[in-house]
Symmetry: C2
Subunit: 314 residues, 2 copies
């Protein structure tokens, strides 16, 4: 493994940035990584756990002399931070980001990118339900995909260099157009998140079912939804507001299909239901074969009470 950028600045120090830091160190991909977070509490935590070689008190200081600056803030905050750091950027540097929506980020950041600085948007498709600087870990990007979204006039060398960094952090890299990215993510991420949030909110709201019933009996399927619905609220508010059209389009398709299945239930059309449920099973198999999930039952969850596995003959 070797250095890809001598100096990297991470702006925003949540789950994604902190995982990047540990992955960059694991791979020896930079000489020095500086960090900045808006909240002084986050900066303190970062210093306490040794996250970043240097945590700076201003964004301008953090980006000084950086060869790569990665914006790791909520999508709605990207424009402001880009404007703030613009005067401090080194000629020839690259700005990138990790936002879950690309068209809105490009529109917000591009006007602030100075002449002679490259802007190469990116989006690593990885995360957990935890957030904050302490939630990061070096293996988050291993075998996950990172999508790079070059514009039509983006410097090819700047794109290749960013690709090397993500590959060095364990990810597979693909290039994609911004609008297509936003549609694909509406399907694989944004709509599923809104649906999970909705179902968890409904369960919390049904008066005839108590909270403790929902909580205790969640293993029957509901608990998987609660994991998704525990993701960072600020990040997700910004995602939905900035990928409005594609998200609403997919939710419209979803509602249409849900109505068709509800109708099949009401009419007692078992064949329709069985055929639908059989088709969806195949997609799971493909995801496992593509190495994007584990085949272990219940994701190989480790339960609290661990009895010894049966030792009698099988």
């Amino acid at each position: 493994m070797s250095t890809v950028y001598p100096r990297i600045a991470l702006i925003g120090l949540g789950l994604i940035a902190s995982s990047m830091y540990w992955a960059i160190k694991r791979g020896g991909l930079a000489h020095e990584v500086t960090g900045f977070a808006r909240s002084s509490q986050t900066r303190e935590t970062a210093r306490h756990i040794g996250l970043c070689d240097q945590v700076c008190d201003t964004a301008a200081e953090a980006v000084q002399g950086a060869d790569l600056i990665v914006l790791c803030v909520p999508v709605g905050a990207m424009g402001n931070i880009a404007e703030e750091i613009a005067p401090s950027l080194k000629k020839g540097a690259t700005i990138s980001d990790v936002g879950s929506v690309k068209r809105a980020v490009i529109d917000a950041v591009s006007p602030h990118v100075p002449q002679g600085v490259h802007f190469v948007p990116a989006h690593p498709l990885a995360g957990t339900e935890h957030s904050g600087p302490e939630s990061g870990f070096a293996t988050l990007y291993d075998n996950r995909w990172c999508l790079i979204i070059p514009g039509h006039d983006t410097d090819a060398k700047a794109v290749d260099r960013l690709r090397s960094l993500w590959e060095g952090m364990g990810a597979n890299v693909d290039l994609m157009d911004a609008d297509h990215h936003d549609l694909v993510l509406a399907v694989t991420s944004h709509a599923p998140h809104l649906i999970a949030y909705t179902m968890v909110g409904v369960a919390d709201d049904i008066r005839r079912v108590t909270d403790s019933e929902v909580i205790n009996y969640s293993a029957a399927g509901f608990r998987d939804f609660t994991r998704i619905a525990a993701s960072d609220p600020t990040m997700w508010r910004d995602v939905f507001l900035s990928n409005k059209e594609a998200t609403l389009e997919i939710l419209g398709r979803f509602t249409e299909e849900l109505f068709a299945l509800q109708r099949a239930i009401r009419l007692g059309d078992g064949d329709h239901l069985h055929a639908y449920f059989t088709r969806t099973r195949g997609i799971r198999r493909d995801i496992i074969e593509a190495g994007q999930d584990t085949d272990k039952p219940n994701f190989g969850r480790t339960e609290r009470r661990n009895f010894t596995e049966q030792s009698f003959s099988k």
Copy 2:
């Protein structure tokens, strides 16, 4: 641990029955467990892996002399199998079941229960996305809940005895009324499953997003849905058809709430979204505190490529 029933018969040999068998053996809860499955291939597999002390070729043979008979077949098949075994039941025996819907099973089975035989319906809230005799394991019920649904005239001793069996298999036991059970499960299980099936079907169906995009980029949230949507199609068809009213009621509430969130997205009402997403995060915390899920990121999934964790100072 000690014997709860000298002789137990498991009718149907899928995930739930096979996990019961291994848990019964682990706890020494019966002297002999017989098994029956409609399909000769399933019976062969069961014999091959040593599932059940004796696998019988007819249900009547399997229940001969049994003190407890547990119906582990899809909800839609419960009535027929109860009718088939009725003449072979021993006086004083207990029939139970593991169906995910209780009112419909009670209506289907009760007419066939002979005088002098107890009927004590039950439902263990545990499972995985895998099915069939080879998918069972002894720890499936550890720290999960099993709901027992006694009727108003059910023998109290028969209920206590079944409770001891489930507790011996590692489960927590609660008693519940059949209609309330069906409503609670519509919230914690049936509606979430239909929603997951729907979303996975929609993703498969959007022509502008390729299958390989859906599969590769599933780690952004979608893969959790595919796990649920990989559950047994026959079982789930029967669940929806036999818990029609409660499922449709919850789906109605879900759709209403989803429309409100879609409206907030369209209108750009970030405060509404943020407040909603913050509330749902709390439910996740409660589920983890109740021991019903792990707090490890992504359920503690084990990924395929395992790099060594960072060894540098943190």
